[in-house]
């Protein structure tokens, strides 16, 4: 197992370099000049060319890439063109906000979806199952941004229960407990949107894997042993259904940093999703590079975690 993890980590290095080359190439082949707004419009064409030359704007792509990766390895991710400060600073300011939102939503949806899915499966075709199925189908088919706008209209605008957007009340400068409550208040709507959408698919998944497991022979064996329905379902069946559920959850961790671009945009949540999206629009190369590479790293680690978790929950899987 230890060897497997080390080997996987080593394999990740060339994969990661490959990803960085592709992203770098794609970003730099998009048309447009990001420096146009940076420079004084009154300088002469020759001065402008000289300045662009000096920062390496006209270097061939491989040279640019090597320069970037040299600095990146040393921990220097460059200087954001738009924010005019180091990329690392910009990202570290935003990443917490995104994690706050996505981790909370993921935890909530696991806590809600798994029990609901189990009950739905054990009481298949009951009223509960039908209601849960209908809600899940709504959750699966409604676009997140539309649901978000609906919530803003009803809960924030009409009823005024929640703030419309942002992460805290601007200008209030709350501290301590008051600030925590203020952020929680702002979090509520985006959390509802993200949780609802994730719960829907995870619940359907839990339901179908439970249904599959419940029909297995070993469930009949467990019942024939005289075990109670509770032990049969929550120990013998769930432990098997968990194999695929845990894999799905681990894989979804990869989307934690990027999964909520639309929701973040609608609620003007200062997170990674909006940051990278804005950076792409502004051709803020260093920021886009760092942001996307971070997301790629997340996905790679999530895949590794999924493989590890798979072996943890299923004794038949052993990595030699």
């Amino acid at each position: 197992m230890k060897q497997f993890i080390i080997r996987r980590l080593l394999i990740m290095i060339p994969v990661f370099i490959g990803i960085s080359m592709i992203i770098f190439g794609l970003i730099h082949s998009t048309p447009g000049d990001p420096y146009i707004t940076m420079l004084d419009p009154n300088i002469t064409e020759a001065d402008r060319e000289a300045m662009l030359n000096s920062i390496g704007y006209y270097d061939p792509l491989p040279v640019k890439y090597i320069k970037w990766i040299e600095r990146a390895i040393k921990g220097d991710l460059g200087y954001s063109i738009r924010y005019k400060e180091p990329v690392a600073d910009v990202i570290s300011r935003r990443i917490g906000n995104t994690l706050l939102l996505s981790v909370t939503a993921l935890v909530l949806s696991v806590l809600i979806a798994v029990p609901l899915g189990i009950v739905s499966a054990t009481k298949q075709y009951s009223v509960f199952d039908y209601v849960a199925t209908i809600l899940a189908l709504i959750g699966l088919s409604i676009p997140a941004f539309f649901f978000a706008l609906g919530l803003i209209k009803v809960l924030a605008f009409d009823l005024g229960i929640f703030p419309i957007s942002g992460i805290e009340t601007t200008g209030a400068n709350y501290t301590g407990m008051k600030r925590v409550l203020d952020v929680l208040h702002h979090m509520a709507l985006p959390i509802i949107v993200l949780t609802f959408v994730q719960t829907a698919s995870l619940m359907r998944y839990t339901r179908s894997s439970m249904l599959e497991v419940i029909q297995q022979d070993y469930i009949r064996t467990a019942k024939a042993k005289g075990l109670s329905e509770r032990v049969v379902i929550y120990k013998h069946a769930l432990r098997n259904a968990m194999i695929s559920i845990v894999t799905l959850i681990s894989l979804s961790l990869g989307g934690l940093l990027s999964g909520a671009v639309l929701t973040e945009t609608v609620f003007v949540w200062p997170g990674m999703g909006t940051l990278v999206y804005q950076a792409i629009l502004n051709r803020d190369y260093p920021l886009v590079m760092a942001g996307t590479m971070l997301l790629a790293l997340c996905v790679l680690f999530a895949n590794l975690l999924a493989d590890i978790m798979y072996a943890v929950v299923d004794p038949r899987i052993r990595y030699e």
């Binding site: 022979d217 064996t221 467990a222 019942k223 024939a224 042993k225 005289g226 075990l227 194999i243 038949r316």
Partner: protein, 331 residues
């Protein structure tokens, strides 16, 4: 006379399907004597497995339903028990082993855990004592290195070993009745013999009665004291193993005996019973075997014959036998 450990009286088990209600087990009477091995023989789909699941009250809900009858275990009707009392019977007084050892064990728990679970549930054994008993049970069913196997997972064992584990699990609380639903069908022949030998030996040692469900007549001859032959949800012939094999009376049983491959000489075709088991949706009005019978009569189409006892507890459900019996009686 031996005391009955299990008496089934007029058991009817129905399934509701999209095409309507079907009767999988139709008015079955069956007695299993204490410590004896009873064979239940028949083709696929004749209701053998449903009978066994009915005894355990594990007929899959909500489609299956035991609608009539009594299942008396030591003179108390299992069908009257509440779910909690029934659970105390399962795995403790009556236990069961299944056809497919490859899938009947839970893949994510160790052998020791799965056997230990029964010991803890019914006997309250915990910890070291539980583990030692598990190892002892594995040893009893002939598993080599039991102290190692107890910590292994089902996928690390072969089919024969897994079926031994199932037997160890089923016998862990010294049940008075073991229901074995085609326990050797999925195993290869040499392993079959070993597994059957273990079951037979333990039955004798622990005085456990066995209801052995099979379609292998060789296994029946080897193992059983009594046999019941089922066809399309009903028992068509019942008696002790010698009578059934030496003097089969029902035409279905005769057909089964004749189609055993070991009676065929080289180059000769295997004998078979022509036709198919009637669909449960579309049962003939009279005898269900009439369309395939080698001696059909007019009355067979019209009326289902009764299961009638002849000599020595040998019961047959057949018009031809009944009429002949009457004639003999009249003479």
């Amino acid at each position: 006379m031996d005391k009955n450990i299990l008496q089934i009286e007029g058991l009817v088990t129905e399934f509701s399907t999209s095409e309507g209600k079907v009767t999988a087990v139709n008015n079955i009477d069956l007695n299993i004597k204490k410590g004896k091995i009873m064979g239940l023989v028949g083709e696929s789909g004749c209701g053998k497995s449903v009978t066994s699941l009915s005894i355990m009250r594990l007929v899959p809900k909500p489609y299956g339903n035991i609608s009539k009858g009594k299942i008396l275990f030591k003179d108390k009707n299992l069908l009257d028990l509440n779910e909690e009392d029934m659970r105390k019977v399962r795995g403790n007084d009556i236990s069961m082993i299944f056809q497919e050892p490859m899938t009947a064990l839970n893949p994510v728990f160790t052998i020791g855990y799965q056997i230990g679970e029964v010991l803890e549930l019914h006997l309250g054994l915990k910890g070291k004592e539980n583990l030692n008993r598990c190892i002892g049970l594995l040893e009893k069913v002939g598993i080599p290195r039991p102290e190692k196997v107890v910590h292994e997972y089902p996928h690390q064992l072969s089919g024969g070993m897994r079926q031994r584990v199932m037997i160890a699990m089923a016998l862990s609380c010294n049940p008075e009745l073991l229901i074995a639903d085609e326990p050797t069908t999925a195993l290869d022949v040499t392993i079959q013999a070993q597994v059957l030998e273990i079951m037979k030996g333990l039955s004798k040692e622990l005085n456990t009665a066995i209801l052995l469900i099979t379609h292998d007549l060789g296994v029946v001859a080897e193992m059983c004291h009594d046999v019941a032959v089922m066809y399309a949800g009903r028992i068509v012939e019942e008696g002790n193993v010698k009578d059934i094999f030496m003097n089969p009376m029902h035409y279905y049983t005769k057909g089964l005996m004749a189609s055993r491959p070991n009676l065929v000489k080289k180059g000769e075709r295997l004998k078979c019973i022509p036709g198919m088991v009637p669909s449960l949706h579309n049962m003939p009005k009279g005898c269900a075997f009439e369309p395939r019978c080698s001696n059909p009569m007019d009355i067979c189409k019209e009326k289902m014959p009764e299961l009638i006892e002849y000599e020595n507890g040998h019961k047959v459900r057949c018009w031809a036998v009944e009429m002949e019996g009457n004639r003999n009686h009249g003479r």
